[in-house]
């Protein structure tokens, strides 16, 4: 059945005129009989079919042909790789919809598929009519992407506007522009962009290959701008990449957020399902390959100082998300050297253990430009075509330099920010949407003790009980001196107000019931000499939050908070186990705050 985009949603583009005909499907199944059958069925649906008998082969193909496929259908039972793992990889790296297939229709298996991100689960024998409808998954995903982009851009604008209006000077708006008109102007821009984004095909077109160094720039820009104030235009300006478009950045930013959200969801799911996923993953991937779950489970390794590899894994995991967009090209190994060193040094620092939480940050994939942590991402980094699940490092050649990637990777400070953010906005959500100032004050008062307390546990943690709305973990200006380093990070992420943040935060699972978030940020600051948040240890150094910057956070932004439906205080267990939890990223931390 052919449907034109116009009929369905008004989209139009050359490629989509005949949609769903020509849908590019990758079928992965080790059973040659089914491969043949499915190929024929899909061809009958006028789809463009590519078949693959091995999961690894499929991944390679997907990586080689970026944007070469619209959807992946894979059997759960692959001999060379667990189908669920493949599913995760594809979802993270390529962000494609994946349909799982199996002869086994057991609920637990199906659930597992869903948890791993499958957009559908088909039982064999599969009927052709079931395949005819798969285009819906592609369309749905694109629509959501567009919506997300629009949403986030809207949020960004709100932030920017607020920031502008909160401060006497229009720091964030073009000079001479008052918040309102500035916003309007932005709206116009957005609309224009949005129109382009409305076309699913064009959404795809704007994708660029977000190589490691490019992503690094992105993250750096985001950090510099401040997550709460971040906007595609600002990021683009800061990045200084001439060929990059605002849309590219918007899309990337949106994905980044979604990724965080997904991570969070997975955490929650994992936690709620008794970690069944985790067990699967851990058992299957001792090396912690890309598996998200792995990272979660593996976290602990890092702390003990093996951060070398373990850490990497985790990081990778998180990084994965970001990487999927394009081929993550490994950056020069150079940076790695530094991190490594740092890491080592950090290890000895007892404080480092608290870095575990920092892990979260890393996951974000914000490349702390000079991330010093050399974490051995390499292992994890399987994104590259060459990197197999096992030992990525060695295999990755030209593209992948795990270490460098890692450096570039996600170690961003974002997690930290998020956490702070999390604490903030969330609190209002759950308890009372008090003004920021009020919260801040309270937080300040309460924070310290809580923080200190948790810190004694090794990781600055805010016990859940302490994380209340009126506890504002981030104490702006409490130790401003320390925070200096952070100041340059204009509350960046603090304002991760979108739901993804919530999700991430909410993801906190058991670990040491600490508020990862909080701790991380602070921990982070302390490690990095540059950060100037030296006082982190035991002190809660709200990253650079100064009184004047507090307002900019707009945590109390009702719109924002309302936007974060998933964020529920309850679910936010500070004991959430971030993938990075156990990871000590002493090095990373340092790298995170790149000022």
């Amino acid at each position: 059945m052919m449907m034109t985009m116009e009929n369905n949603n008004g989209f139009s583009s050359p490629r989509s005129d005949a949609f769903p005909a020509g849908l590019r499907v990758l079928v992965v199944d080790d059973d040659p009989t089914w491969l043949k059958i499915l190929e024929k069925m899909l061809k009958k649906c006028s789809y463009e079919v590519t078949t693959c008998g091995l999961a690894r082969e499929a991944l390679n193909l997907l990586r080689e042909r970026k944007d070469g496929f619209d959807i992946v259908i894979s059997d759960v039972n692959m001999p060379d790789m667990d189908g669920f793992k493949l599913l995760e990889h594809v979802g993270l790296e390529m962000d494609l919809p994946v349909i799982m297939m199996s002869v086994d229709g057991e609920t637990s298996r199906v659930m597992k598929g869903v948890q791993h991100g499958a957009c559908d689960y088909l039982l064999k024998p599969i009927r052709m009519k079931e395949l005819r409808n798969i285009w819906q998954h592609v369309l749905r995903k694109r629509i959501h992407e567009v919506r997300d982009i629009e949403f986030h851009e809207g949020i960004d604008e709100i932030y920017m506007t607020r920031n502008g209006s909160d401060k006497s000077e229009d720091r964030h708006l073009p000079s001479g522009t008052d918040p309102i008109s500035g916003k309007k102007r932005k709206d116009v821009d957005n609309k224009h962009d949005d129109r382009e984004c409305n076309d699913p095909s064009s959404v795809k077109k704007v994708r660029v290959v977000w190589a490691v160094d490019l992503h690094q720039k992105f993250v750096k820009a985001v950090n510099q701008i401040g997550f709460d104030k971040v906007g595609p235009k600002k990021i683009l300006d800061l990045m200084g990449v001439p060929w990059l478009t605002r849309e590219n950045v918007a899309s990337h930013l949106q994905k980044y957020r979604l990724y965080l959200g997904r991570l969070q969801k997975e955490k929650e799911l994992t936690a709620s399902f008794g970690g069944m996923k985790q067990s699967d993953i851990t058992s299957k991937e001792p090396n912690g390959n890309h598996c998200l779950q792995n990272s979660v489970n593996k976290q602990c390794d890092l702390t003990s100082g093996n951060h070398g590899t373990q850490g990497n894994k985790t990081i990778l995991q998180n990084v994965d998300f970001k990487m999927h967009e394009g081929d993550m090209k490994c950056i020069a190994p150079m940076p790695m050297a530094e991190p490594k060193k740092a890491m080592n040094g950090d290890n000895s620092d007892p404080q480092k253990s608290s870095n575990k939480k920092m892990g979260v940050n890393h996951s974000f994939g914000q490349l702390g430009s000079d991330l010093q942590y050399a974490t051995t991402v390499p292992k994890q980094y399987s994104w590259n075509e060459e990197c197999s699940e096992t030992q990525m490092n060695r295999e990755c050649k030209p593209h992948f330099r795990p270490k460098s990637v890692f450096n570039a990777l996600p170690l961003t400070t974002l997690p930290q920010n998020i956490q702070l953010d999390y604490i903030r906005p969330r609190l209002p959500l759950n308890s009372r949407p008090s003004s920021l100032e009020r919260d801040n004050k309270l937080a300040e008062a309460d924070m310290m003790p809580a923080y200190m307390k948790s810190r004694s546990q090794g990781i600055g943690q805010l016990s859940p009980a302490e994380c209340k709305a009126d506890r504002f973990p981030v104490q702006p200006g409490s130790k401003s001196t320390n925070v200096q380093g952070l100041k340059s990070i204009p509350s960046a992420v603090w304002s991760m107000n979108n739901h993804s943040l919530d999700q991430i935060l909410g993801g906190c699972s058991e670990s040491e019931d600490t508020s990862l978030n909080m701790t991380c940020g602070t921990e982070f600051a302390s490690w990095d000499g540059n950060l100037q948040c030296g006082s982190l240890q035991g002190d809660f150094q709200p990253l650079n939050v100064g009184p004047e910057t507090v307002e900019s956070f707009n945590y109390g932004n009702p719109e924002l908070t309302s936007e974060v439906p998933t964020f529920s205080y309850d679910s936010l267990k500070f004991d959430f186990e971030y993938p990075f939890d156990s990871m000590e990223y002493p090095v990373i931390d340092q790298g995170l705050f790149i000022t």
Binding site: D30, D31, P32, T33, W34, K36, I37, K40, M41, K43, K44, D75, N77, S102, V103, D104, K124, P125, R127, M128
Partner: protein
């Protein structure tokens, strides 16, 4: 379709050798793939030999890893479902029941039946395709 082929086909369905998946294959057959059904059956029987060997390998282990054995049978069953091999599938399920019980004896017996059905169907389909043409 020739009378012989038609009645043969009907018999195969009536006697439970084939299920509607086979009809799906027939519906997929077209000008682009005029021998699609036969092609798929060929692929199945080529690959199933390998799957059967895998099962036998698992059954020859001491002790038997029933999980792996079940997994091997699972693959075989999945493949059989592709061509609509109804009886074969049913016997596979029986085999898997024994696996779950850890009943090696039962598995051995069930496997013999699986192989028999597998062979029987092959013969019948071979004849069918010959007649069909």
């Amino acid at each position: 379709m020739e009378g012989n082929a038609a009645s043969m086909r009907e018999t195969l369905f009536d006697q439970g050798y084939l299920d509607e998946q086979f009809i799906q294959l027939e519906e997929l057959q077209d000008d682009a793939n005029p021998n699609f059904v036969e092609d798929v059956v060929k692929v199945f029987y080529t690959d199933s030999a390998r799957l059967i060997r895998n099962i036998e390998a698992e059954m020859g282990k001491h002790p038997i890893d029933f999980e792996k054995l079940d997994d091997a049978m699972h693959r075989f069953k999945g493949s059989s479902s592709g061509i609509g091999a109804k009886k074969v599938k049913n016997e596979c399920t029986q085999f898997q029941d024994y696996c779950k019980e850890g009943n090696a004896e039962g598995c051995f017996r069930a496997f013999q039946v699986v192989k028999q059905e597998h062979e029987t169907l092959k013969r019948k389909l071979d004849t069918y395709f010959q007649v069909f043409f």
